[in-house]
Symmetry: C2
Subunit: 420 residues, 2 copies
């Protein structure tokens, strides 16, 4: 069978399964989630045997130790997968929720009912545990999903896919509601993202290269997560110790993630006092500072920032620093170089806090708190399948609600439309 025929077959099966899953009750979906959690724990040894094949291949290919670490289904990671599924089972089911029900002048009663999107294509590069996390969220939200993981995790993903299928079947749900693409061929991805007859949305999660490839070639709508070039603006009169604490947390706690701080903007009135204080704490934590000329006046000897530093997502212990004359310059800088992900201000001023909140066009805007809070769990969504930096459908972390949509429903007693 050609890759093209195989993907059409998968997509057709997914669409048929989606209808059954959309009808499924909360109890059956939760039963499948809890069954899968138990099954993953029970089959730990078998999973790790399959995972070892991927790890061995990665070692042969000379993969970096940090990446091999992310590939491994350790006891801890297996525990986290099972725990994550139990958390998703405990979340309330979005499907079927009805809101805004009201009578219209015509006499019909109109509301909105939350429904699954249908069939989701999820394309990812990273760790095999994402296979289970994504399957759990899609299942709970009533969506069929086609999972296309990375080449390097193929054995692990296949093994997890088999367990998922068994749990669906055990709960009386369509086993093809979750399918793992059984090939590492990139042509399969290209095929998948063009099947707009069967798929309702594609969610790519991975490096910028993958996201661009999907965005440029997809015929199916895409929910994409580009990079996070996150900013902290230290306002005139802001609490400087708080600003240092937030900058340190945002830059140092997990420098490799999308909500980590990449650029620090400082009001000129605070530059003399703040920059040495910040440099001391950040440099002690191993952060390399790259400053604008005004920054370097206060922090001589540091590296000069060049134009490429301002839009950079370092994902590393590097921080670009710029002194600005006033709030508007900070807002212009963010509008020009930011990635609409997460920006924060440290301020004591009511008007400037309000302007920053209103005018910054990012998926999360914070006053006096760390950019690291841009996360489904921290914002109260329960769990997330990614963070959208495009504004259509979802902007920010995508949880169960973001994997659904609403349709209108209307109750009548024979009404016809009078007004043409």
């Amino acid at each position: 069978m050609t890759v093209s025929a195989m993907m059409i077959e998968l997509a057709r099966e997914a669409k048929a399964a989606a209808r059954g899953l959309a009808r499924a009750g909360t109890e059956a979906k939760n039963r499948a989630l809890l069954d899968l959690a138990g099954r993953i724990e029970a089959e730990r040894a078998a999973l790790q045997t399959e995972n070892e094949k991927d790890v061995a291949q990665a070692r042969i290919e000379g993969m970096a130790p940090a990446l091999i670490d992310r590939l491994m289904l350790s006891d801890k990671v297996i525990g986290q997968m099972a725990g994550g599924l139990r958390e998703v089972a405990a979340l309330s089911d979005p499907v079927g929720q009805v809101s805004d029900m009201k009578y219209r002048p015509s006499g019909i009663q109109v509301g909105r009912m939350r429904i699954p999107l249908g069939v989701i294509g999820f394309i990812y590069e990273s760790r095999p545990n994402v296979t289970v996390d994504a399957a759990g969220l899609c299942l709970k939200s009533g969506n069929a999903v086609i999972l296309k993981g990375g080449r390097e995790a193929i054995h692990s993903n296949q093994a997890l896919g088999r367990l998922i299928g068994q749990s669906l079947e055990a709960a009386g749900l369509p086993p093809r509601a979750v399918q793992v693409v059984p090939t590492t061929d990139r042509a399969a991805t290209l095929e998948l993202i063009r099947l707009d007859e069967y798929l309702d949305v594609v969610i790519p999660r991975g490096g910028e290269g993958l996201i661009r490839f999907v965005a440029e070639n997809a015929r199916v709508p895409v929910l994409k997560h580009y990079k996070g070039t996150c900013h902290l603006y230290v306002d005139q009169g802001g609490d400087l110790e708080m600003a240092v604490r937030i900058a340190h947390n945002a830059k140092v706690q997990r420098p490799g993630v999308c909500n980590a701080l990449e650029t620090l903007l400082v009001h000129q009135a605070e530059a003399d006092a703040f920059l040495p204080l910040a440099a001391q704490t950040l440099e002690a934590a191993g952060v390399e500072l790259r400053g604008c000329p005004e920054t370097l006046k206060r922090l001589p000897g540091r590296k000069a920032a060049v134009e490429e530093d301002w839009p950079a997502e370092y994902l590393d212990l590097i921080l670009a620093v710029r002194v600005v004359q006033y709030l508007d310059e900070a807002l212009d800088h963010i509008a020009r170089y930011g990635s609409k992900h997460t920006e924060a201000i440290v301020t004591r001023d009511y008007d400037r806090a309000r302007r920053f909140l209103t005018e910054v066009d990012s998926s999360l805007v914070l006053v006096n708190a760390s950019t690291r809070f841009n996360d489904g769990g921290e914002l109260g969504l329960g769990a997330e399948i990614g963070i959208s930096t495009s504004k259509l459908h979802a902007f920010g972390p995508m949880g169960l609600d973001e994997l659904t949509t609403t349709k209108f429903i209307a109750f009548g007693s024979g009404q016809i439309r009078r007004r043409a």
Copy 2:
């Protein structure tokens, strides 16, 4: 200047204007809307002079009288445009609305703020009054918009665009927030829908050919409105007189619109009684019936429906009729041939009403009411820019809320993230 350079220039200007418009207060936006309403009425003669150029050209090209009718800016249409703008001014401003504000365990307080999408590309074929309707909705929702109307209305659209620019300027808003593309070149459309660096969404409105062209070539996300193949299912035990009344309204009131009825499904137990009753009323109104074999047994002499009739959007006084054995067959028929637009059931049965509402995957599902209610005004959105039949972002009529999105906002007092 090449078409490509011109479109990039328009898009760049739109993006700059969008930032200013997003900040604009409700009062300034309403001032512009009301100013435009007055200006359109005051400039009626000048508008009609420009419109006459389009109409004269259309006559030379032999356009059908019904289409020339839609092209004309009659006194009535001018009154409707002005009235529509005053209605939009009276709607509440969605921008800046904050919802779901709550404290998280970390101590930050998180909510969602409604914000404009940014820059909208609106591509349409039809009547020049759509230029003003779309401009009004985009302006009120804080979005910059680039309007690409049909070739046949170019003089009318340019004249309306000039008035819109004057009203924006009079209200102190960025005059480039609404721009009418000053060419009829189709290359301009192709260029526009690929400018994902500047545009946030493209909304095509028109025939299936236009929508497909945009969906297949766009790099910018598309909110599309394909066809409406709407169904009415007459359930066993349903009120047959009500069913006839609804079928008549849905088919006959305005056969050329997307929420008009195209297929009638009848439970076999009601076929003997219902079909002659329905045929009498519908045929008296000039409707041609095309039936399945079971239908033709009850209505001999009518045309037989062929496979192509089931997915057809006739937009005309033609109705496909099929007898089904039970509800599931009706649901299967709708899933297979429907267009996710609007479906209705006539029933007295609680369980079947509930199943139909839940299981039909359409933007509006009705019990005992006409499909003609799928309209922004009738459903309570105030005004609409189109009806989305794709599920992402918006499903069903798109009003002011659907032209916006939400970002997360968070208030803290120095919180940093503890959990890594």
